[in-house]
Point group: C2
Chain length 254, copies 2
Amino acid sequence: MANSASGDSLIERADRILASFSAATSRLTAAQIAQRAGLPSSTAHRLCAEMAQRGWLDREGNAYVVGTRLWELATRSAPDSSLAVLATPFMQDAQAALGQHIQLGRIEGNEVLILQRLSERGAREISSTVAGRLPLHVSAAGLVLLAWLPDDDRTAYLAALRDTGQAVPQGSVRTLAAVLSSVRATGHAVQTGNLEPDRTGIAVPVRGARATVVAALGAVIDRAAAAVDPAATVQVLRAAAHGIERTLKEHRVA
Amino acid sequence: MANSASGDSLIERADRILASFSAATSRLTAAQIAQRAGLPSSTAHRLCAEMAQRGWLDREGNAYVVGTRLWELATRSAPDSSLAVLATPFMQDAQAALGQHIQLGRIEGNEVLILQRLSERGAREISSTVAGRLPLHVSAAGLVLLAWLPDDDRTAYLAALRDTGQAVPQGSVRTLAAVLSSVRATGHAVQTGNLEPDRTGIAVPVRGARATVVAALGAVIDRAAAAVDPAATVQVLRAAAHGIERTLKEHRVA
């Protein structure tokens, strides 16, 4: 059905068009989309026009942005969106006590997918954005999610990291493994200055049905702006995580 | 390209599949999707499977939910999502003062599209949801958006309402027109008990570039839980709207 000469389906091509957009490049011409999506120019022009007709893309001058209708269709019933909505009031509670940035992420592939982020007015920007991703082993939320992965999956992740010879902020994959044991033992993760200097991230797990960890709740604290009291921060986050867990149970989500 | 016998394109059919899902029906089998989307069962099964392969739908048991990847693609760069993220800290400020529900909506077609909603923990649920819609003339946010429509558009909306003979909460279309004049004169709208008894909605405009009204910021107050002081509520909402306007200007959004 609707396969191009190269054998990829129309859904696949539409997906590549949508994937050309990012938080940093939210407005693209059809020519830029063709290049980023690796599609022939004529295909990109035709398909963008068709997507714009349905509101999956919106025209802005001579360029396209991701469309309102697609946002609406993808948001109004998505489980990720429900989890974010249910968690938000408890994230607000934590933010009232801690200020700065509070975020909720869950594992997706080998990364952290940020489902929700609350930022204090005037807080210095951080790199993570709603629907953005972070690598698992460099953020506090990622360490929490990695620590509670099923053993086989965690072992495979660490083995892949070792094989690529990639630098890890913990110094070595062996040290990272020890850090993950300690995260499981203490019930929280603390990371300092990995993603951004002068920031400390602190995160705790959020559990769903059958006590599985379904998300990580974290605070990102600007050490230039505030003293960090990890113990107090962990307690506030735990209280909020507990509230989220209760709500998930009430709503039978996760 | 990829047109079915009935002439609709694959994008059109995928759109109808996604549109079958709603906040109330977030989990559907392929048979339910076929029925809601008005598609032959074999088409729905095949297309759902293809969409699931790209992560536009996720499988949950024998049913489908809207997929994480689609949510991510639609959220990370959508202008609606950026507007919601930029507005959230100011909505939190308003909520700290007013409690209950604070929401941000903008006009889309002839309806209010809810971009963001913050709800106090334990607040009694309201019918509007993030990415949900409300009719323009029955909500306070809708009245604000309707009041600042270009004159021709507003006249056309009122004429259509008159032609359908639909009951309007204001009693008559003539009264509604007078209410809209008063909303423009006072700079805010108040609606009581239209969408839900015991609730009062109060909303103010949010202006973008060239002073155009780009959104409405509203509070929904449960009169059973709290006394409503409209004047004070309007002042708090105005302060928050002003903050949102300043941020939109700084970020050159809207």
